[in-house]
Structures are given as C-alpha cells and as structure tokens.
C-alpha cells in the first residue's frame, strides 16, 4: 500500500470518528443522573461508546475508502486480485474484538455486582403494580401506604416488587434502574438516590390497555422531610 493511501485512510477514519463523537456528545443521550447506580451505569455507557466509536471509525474508513477508490465503470470486465485470505489478519480480527468484548463484560459484571448490593441500613419499600397504577408501602414505618414513591436522599433503598395481575416493569430513567414485577415472584431492586427532585416512574412492560398511561412519580426528599412525612399517619 502506498503511503498516500494510508494517509487518506487515516483521514477518513479520523473524520468518521469525529462525526461519531459529535453524535455521541452533542445531544443529551442520557437523562440527568439521580442515583449512585446511575453514575456507574453511565460509566459503562460511555466506556462502550468509546469502544464503539473506535470500531465504527475503522469500519467506516475501510468501507468509505473502498467505495471511493475501487469503484469501476459498468463496462469494466476485469477481475480483482485473487486474494483468498490472510491468516494474520484473520487472527487479528478474531482476537481484538474478543479482547474488547471481554473488557466490556468485566466492566459490566463489576458494575452489576455493585449495583446489586444494598448499602448499610437500607430502607425497604414494597412496590405494588396492578393494571394500571402503582402503589407503595413502607414496612419500616408501620406499613405506611402511598401512591407516590417518596425516598430519602443518600440512603440505600431496597425495592421489593409485587404484581397483582400481569407483568409490569418499574423504571425511573433518572435512576437508570429497571425491574420487571412478575406475579408470584418478589424481585428486588437496589437504588441509592443522590439528588433531591421529582422524577417520572414509567411502566415499561406492555401490561394491557392502560400501559402507556401507567405512570407515577418518585419524589426524592431530604432525610428529615422524609422522616416527617413517613411518620405521619395516613397517606
């Protein structure tokens, strides 16, 4: 390969990488982060994005360069060079992707283990889903009931999911955490909110006619305000 074509390839690759990076950085891909788990999940997201931009740039460079340089007129009847393979290249593009996905798997497994562990003195909350609304109860506060999920900031929360009819799914985009609630099972989900605010709670498993409107809110409060609310009688 001539030096000129290597330069051209690299230029196309850098350009493709720049376009991909712009697509990755300019729009707001992720909603604001409001939990410790979200911070870790976002790290995995950007780690994978970095690897994907790298792979994308290489593929884009080779394909754009080929389409640009190796196109011939329809009446050109000649054949290309009969290259049947290249063992070194084939080993490389088997081994390098294997290493990259292994790295992604390790990072993901570590984050998953951290996100699945409850912190000290967790707050337990029962989440009840039914067609088509959410309700919550706080066993630590005399089984206090609520239609809105109120949580104290900076305290580990263990949500225990219950479904009364079909499968629903608990999702708060700002927490990045999601869990299906399945009749007959009581799956748990760990969240440590770290930002006071009100966030949407969305059902993400098709549950019937009212699925699109099966929403509620999560209110993350200062611990004192939460204690005051939780100790009050009634909903």
């Amino acid at each position: 390969m001539r030096r000129g074509s290597i330069v051209q390839l690299i230029v196309i690759g850098v350009l493709a990488g720049a376009v991909a990076s712009a697509v990755a950085l300019i729009p707001n891909w992720l909603p604001s982060s409001a939990s410790r788990e979200a911070g870790r999940i976002d790290f995995v997201f950007w780690f994978v994005t970095g690897i994907c931009i790298f792979v994308f740039s290489i593929v884009a460079a080779v394909s754009v360069y080929s389409v640009w340089k190796f196109r011939v007129k329809p009446d050109d009847d000649s054949d290309g060079p009969p290259i049947h393979g290249h063992t070194g290249l084939e080993i490389a593009w088997t081994a390098v992707p294997a290493l990259l996905v292994t790295a992604i798997a390790i990072v993901s497994a570590i984050v998953l283990a951290k996100d699945d562990a409850a912190g000290a003195n967790p707050l337990r909350v029962n989440v009840y889903a039914q067609q088509f609304f959410w309700s919550f109860s706080y066993p630590g506060y005399g089984d206090k009931k609520s239609d809105v999920l109120r949580l104290p900031v900076n305290r580990s929360v263990v949500l225990e999911g219950h479904s009364k009819d079909v499968i629903h799914s608990f999702w708060v985009p700002e927490f990045r955490q999601k869990q299906d609630l399945v009749p007959g099972l009581t799956p748990t989900l760990h969240i440590t909110p770290n930002k006071v605010g009100t966030y949407p709670l969305i059902c993400t498993e098709l549950c019937g006619l009212g699925h699109a409107l099966m929403r509620s809110r999560v209110v993350v409060m200062e611990p004192a305000a939460f204690d005051k609310w939780a100790s009050r009688k009634g909903a």
């Binding site: 729009p27 891909w29 992720l30 909603p31 870790r40 999940i41 995995v44 997201f45 994978v48 994907c52 994308f56 593929v59 884009a60 080779v62 394909s63 389409v67 190796f70 011939v72 329809p74 000649s78 054949d79 290309g80 060079p81 009969p82 393979g85 290249h86 084939e90 593009w93 088997t94 996905v101 292994t102 992604i104 798997a105 993901s108 497994a109 984050v111 998953l112 996100d115 009819d165 079909v166 499968i167 799914s169 999702w171 985009p173 990045r176 955490q177 999601k178 869990q179 299906d180 399945v182 009749p183 007959g184 099972l185 949407p200 993400t204 498993e205 098709l206 019937g208 006619l209 009212g210």
Partner: protein, 649 residues
C-alpha cells in the same frame, strides 16, 4: 443423471398439467375450486366434533364460540383448504392403498399464471410463490407500521383506541417476522439453493409444496384477527403470559398462526437439510459450497432445533386459556417466567434464522460484484457454525430485567458479547473482499454494501444491549426498537432486496430497471436512517416502547420520525413499480449478467424446467474470480477440464 433425462424425455410435448375436466367433475379436481368447498366442509366437521364432545361431556354452553373458532376455523378449515387444493392427494392415495399416479411431472413448472395458484412441485415456482406471498404480507405489515407512526406523530390519542393500537404493532411485528423475513429468505433459497447445488429440485418436492401452502393460511389468520370481536391480538409479538392469556379472542389467531407458519418453516428446513446433504452435484464437497448454501444449512439447523419451542410456548398459552391449564397462571401453581424462557429459546435463535441467510446473500453479491474471491471462505463458513452454536446459549439476554435468577445474567452477557466475534469476522471479511476489488455498484451491490454498513450500527447497538447495566436502563425502550430495526431492516430486509435484485434476471428472464433500483435503494437508505436512528436517542432519554401516548418532551422527535417513516414507506412504491413493469416489459436477461461463477448462472434465465440438462461436475471453489483458468463447474457436455486436470494445473 440419466434417469432424470429419460423421465424428462418421456413427455416431450408436455405443457403442464392436463386441462381440468369440465362440468361438475371439476369440483373434484385439485385446486382452488375444490378448496372453496372443502374448507367450509372441514370447518363444519370441526364444529360438529366440538358440539358432539361438549354435548357428550355435558358442558354448557354446547355452542361455545371460542372453541368453535379454534377447532373449526383455525385448525379444521385450513386442513380442508390444504386437502382441497391438493396438497395431500398423493399421500392420501398412497395411505388408503389406491394406485398412486405415476410421477409424470405434471405438477412441475409453470406455463401460465394459473400454475402459480395450484400445488406445484417445482422449486423455482415455489420460490416465486413464496416471494410474492411474502411481499404481499410485507406490504400489509408495512401499512400497519404506517398506522402506528400516524398515531405516534403527536402525543395523546389521535386515531385509535389502545386495544387497536396494541393490535397494530403486534400484528406488524408478527407479519414481518413470521410472514416476511423468515419465509422470504426461504423463498429465495428455494429458488437458488437447488440450482447452486447442481440438483434438479429439492429432495422432497411435495413437502416443499405443502410448506408453501401453509404460509398464506398463517398470514390470513394473523391479519383476520382484526375482524373478530375484541380486535387483533394485542400482547405484542412476544405475547408474554399472563397478559396474553387474558386477552380477547384475537390472541388464539396468533397462537395458531404461529403454529402454521412454524410448521411451514420446519418442513422447509428439513427439506433444505436433506437436499444439501444428499443432492450436491458430483465434486461439490462441503468446502466447495457457495456461502449462501452454507448459510441456509446453518439456518435450517437453527429452525429444526428451535422452532418447536415457540410452538410449545404458544400451545401452553392457548391451553391456559381454552382448557384452563395453569402453565403460566400463578394461582394454579404456574410460572410466568417459564413462558419467557421457552419463548426466547426459540426467538433468540430466530434472530439468526432471520439474519444468516442474509449473510449468505451478501457473500454471493459482494464477491461477484467485487470480482474477487470471498476473503477467508473457510472462516466465513465456520463463523456461521459458531453463531449457530453460540446462538443457543444467549436467550436470557432478553430477560436481564425479567426477575429470573440474577446469577444467570453474567454468563448470558458473556456468551452474548462473544457472538460479536464471529459476526465481526464476517463484517471484516466482507470489507476485505471489497478491498482492491473492481466494484460494480449495480443495485444488488448497493443493497449488500448498505447492509454491511447498517448491520455494523445494529451490531454496535447490540453491544450496548448485551452489557447488562446498560440493558437494564434501555430494556423495553425505543433504543431496543431502533436496534431491532437496524438488524432486521438494515440487516435482513436490505439483504432480501439485494437477493431479489440479484436473482431477478434469473427468476424472470428479464432485467430490472437499474435506475429505479438505485432510486429505491437511496430513498430507502436515507428514509431508514432518518426513521430509526433518532429512536436510539429517545430510547436512552426515557421513552418506553409499545406505548400509544408519550411524554411531551418526545413530541418533536416523534413527529420527525413519523414524517421520515412515511417517506420510507413511499420508497416501496418505487420497488413495486420496478418489479411489476420489469417483469412484464424488462429487457430479456442474459444467462449470466453478473458474470458469476456459481452454478445457477451457468444455465439459461429462467432456468430449464429440470434445471440442468445434464448433472454438472464441480471442479473447484465457487468464488475464484481473478484466478486464471479457474472453474467452479463443468457442464453441458463440456468436458474440457476434469477434476484431475484442474488439480494438476
């Protein structure tokens, strides 16, 4: 070889089947007329059995609509239709001991358009039947998608109620998967694979005909569910229990439609396996098979092993509903997640069923139109086998948030991410094939290269979904919708179009319009990216999928997506116009317009009724472009180069 030529010559002047008898006897002649009275007759028999059983068992009410629909309309009626059209004639004759008609090949080949509407045993006719039928359901599924996008153009409810909306996207997905992508690939392979192998037909031509005729039954069943009380099945194409158990009547149309389509897939796959294993021309070793044949070999293995699982899952759901069993009903001791495990044990391999044949098509087109041997042929074939094996070990990555045993997530993530390796090998090998080639960007090549680029994006978004922490965030959002459309539209559909344009001259004997073909590609390519790329963004930002209404923050993007999707839908009109006009008035095609080496291009366009006047002798690899004097096969008495001679060169 000789017997074949003899049979052929025994009927020199044959022009298709004997004309049907006149008068009332015509009612007994296999065909649509006989089907028109046998289907209602069998429906009546089905109803009779239900009523008799209920009366005998003392169950009230004796006339129970749901069971009558199930047994009469969804099982007995279709069997009557198949019997009427003549799919079982030979076997029934044989079974009852009456003399079978000696095979005179009267059911072979097409001499007028009518021959496409009867049970035909010619793999080329069946291939065309498959393709036209699947394109019909592709249009139906596409129109449903347009309706979905119309509803989503603005937040709030516009045109449909929730049940109808849920039905629209459920039927859209089911038609596209079970009645378009899977059978369209089967149709292309039906036409091409026997030719590529140097075989006169498939191994079991009557089974082949039957597997085609099951398809329209499945498709009409799914579409007609819109007409029954309560509307179409509305639990998504995934039909998760327990929701799907407690849905209106339309759900059993899905449960049974999947059975008919699945039976069709399994029969075709068995047929491909036997054909590929036993009917390769002399000299065609496994390592000389074109990659399309390899792809259909692996796909058929996937179909045969996996499809019974979805059949089981749908039967269980239906039994829970109509027979009050408790497979997935907690109150009766059932296990809802069991459904998802069984369902995805089919439906993840199904993703590869919908992609591997496309890999095969891409390999054929890219090699021939780059004028270069496929790069790393053996590794390309082996990576198909690797995907086949790994494909069975990843199903639970659809269930990372489902509440299944948490420990299962990490092993499933590792196998899922590992599939990127054989898939990457294929992508890099295609790129290495076009490198330094002589690229002819005729329409099939545009679709094939377009496929590679779109599939890379779909593959990379698959990495996000494979990584459990990210999947937990984006699972069941529009990110997933974007991903599946990049792999099934940018992947499967692009390769189906590549295949249709590539083999159009071979199938019809006419050349398609190149300008319209290119226009179709560019409109689709741009419309596709404008429609589906933004879905990644609204997904990660928080828009769940399968909703008829959404938060106002997503309004602008959804309007944009809807407008782009209408443009994308309109691009199909160019395709249809091109196909219809070129089929009727296109320029006559040469035998080998792409100067390909594989066997289907070494016979006339369209091929003779029994494909090869003489069985070809395969002497080399199928992609030896640029190798001086290399040949894939010797045929038509041209014995200039025998195997030993080629080897001694």
């Amino acid at each position: 070889m000789t017997t074949l030529t003899h049979e052929h010559e025994a009927h020199p002047g044959r022009q298709g089947p004997a004309p049907p008898p006149r008068g009332w006897r015509r009612l007994l002649y296999p065909g649509l007329l006989r089907a028109a009275w046998m289907a209602p007759l069998f429906f009546g028999i089905g109803c009779g059995i239900v009523v008799l059983c209920r009366w005998w068992g003392g169950w009230q009410p004796i006339w129970f609509g749901e069971i009558i629909v199930l047994v009469g309309a969804l099982i007995a009626g279709p069997i009557g239709f198949l019997a009427g059209i003549g799919a079982f004639d030979y076997w029934v004759r044989y079974a009852i001991g009456s003399p079978t008609k000696p095979e005179d090949h009267s059911g072979h080949g097409a001499y007028s358009w009518r021959d496409y509407f009867r049970v035909n045993t010619d793999h080329k006719v069946i291939g065309i039947q498959y393709l036209t039928t699947t394109i019909f359901f592709f249009l139906a599924g596409g129109l449903l998608a347009m309706l979905v996008r119309a509803e989503l153009a603005k937040p709030g409810m516009q045109f449909f109620d929730n049940q109808t909306y849920n039905g629209l996207f459920s039927v859209h997905a089911s038609l596209m998967i079970f009645l378009f992508v899977i059978p369209a690939f089967a149709g292309l392979a039906n036409f091409v694979v026997p030719l590529m192998l140097g075989a006169p037909d498939m191994a079991f031509p009557r089974l082949n005909a039957l597997s085609y005729w099951l398809l329209p039954i499945a498709g009409i069943m799914m579409l007609s569910s819109f007409l029954v009380p309560g509307g179409a099945f509305a639990a998504g194409w995934t039909g998760y229990a327990p929701l799907s158990i407690h849905q209106p009547l339309g759900t059993i149309f899905f449960n049974m439609g999947v059975q008919w389509a699945g039976a069709s897939s399994i029969m075709t796959a068995l047929n491909f396996l036997v054909t590929i294993i036993t009917m390769r021309a002399p000299g065609m070793t496994f390592w000389r098979m074109p990659l399309l044949v390899w792809a259909n070999f692996t796909t058929s293995l996937l179909v045969v092993i996996a499809t019974p699982f979805i059949a089981g899952s749908q039967f269980f759901v239906m039994f829970d509903r109509v027979m009050h069993t408790h497979f997935f009903d907690v109150a009766g001791g059932g296990y809802p997640l069991g459904y998802q495990h069984i369902f995805w044990f089919y439906s993840h391999p199904a993703v590869y069923i919908m992609m591997l044949p496309g890999f095969g098509i891409a390999s054929e087109v890219i090699s021939a139109m780059s004028r270069k041997p496929i790069f790393g042929y053996r590794l390309m074939a082996l990576s198909l086998m690797a995907i086949l094996v790994l494909g069975f070990s990843v199903w639970a990555h659809h269930m990372f948030v489902s509440g299944m045993a948490p420990w299962l997530r990490v092993p499933m993530m590792i196998t899922t991410l590992m599939i990127a390796v054989p898939t990457g090998i294929k992508v890099f090998s295609w790129l290495a094939t076009i490198w330094e080639g002589k690229l002819n960007f005729a329409t099939p090549m545009l679709w094939a290269v377009g496929f590679v680029s779109m599939f890379v994006i779909g593959g990379l978004s698959g990495i996000y979904l494979g990584a459990v922490p990210i999947d937990i965030h984006v699972s069941d959002t529009y990110f997933v919708v974007a991903h599946i459309h990049y792999v099934l539209f940018g992947g499967s559909l692009f390769t189906i179009f590549a295949g249709i344009y590539y083999w159009f001259p071979k199938m019809t004997g006419r050349q398609y319009n190149e300008k319209l073909g290119k226009l179709h590609f560019w409109l689709t390519f741009v419309g596709f990216n404008l429609t589906f790329f933004p879905m990644h963004l609204i997904g990660t930002q928080g828009m769940p999928r399968r909703v008829s209404d959404y938060a106002p923050q997503f309004a602008n993007w959804n309007l944009f997506i809807s407008i782009a999707s209408f443009a994308l839908g309109a691009s199909t009109i160019v395709f249809l116009y091109n196909m219809v006009t070129s089929m009727r008035r296109g320029a006559p095609a040469e035998a080998n317009p792409w100067r390909s080496l594989t066997l289907e291009w070494q016979v006339s366009s369209p091929p003779p009724i029994f494909n090869f006047d003489e069985i070809p002798q395969v002497v080399g690899n199928p992609y030896e472009y640029g190798v001086p004097g290399a040949r894939h096969a010797v045929l038509n008495g041209d014995r200039a180069a025998t195997e030993t001679e080629v080897r001694s060169r």
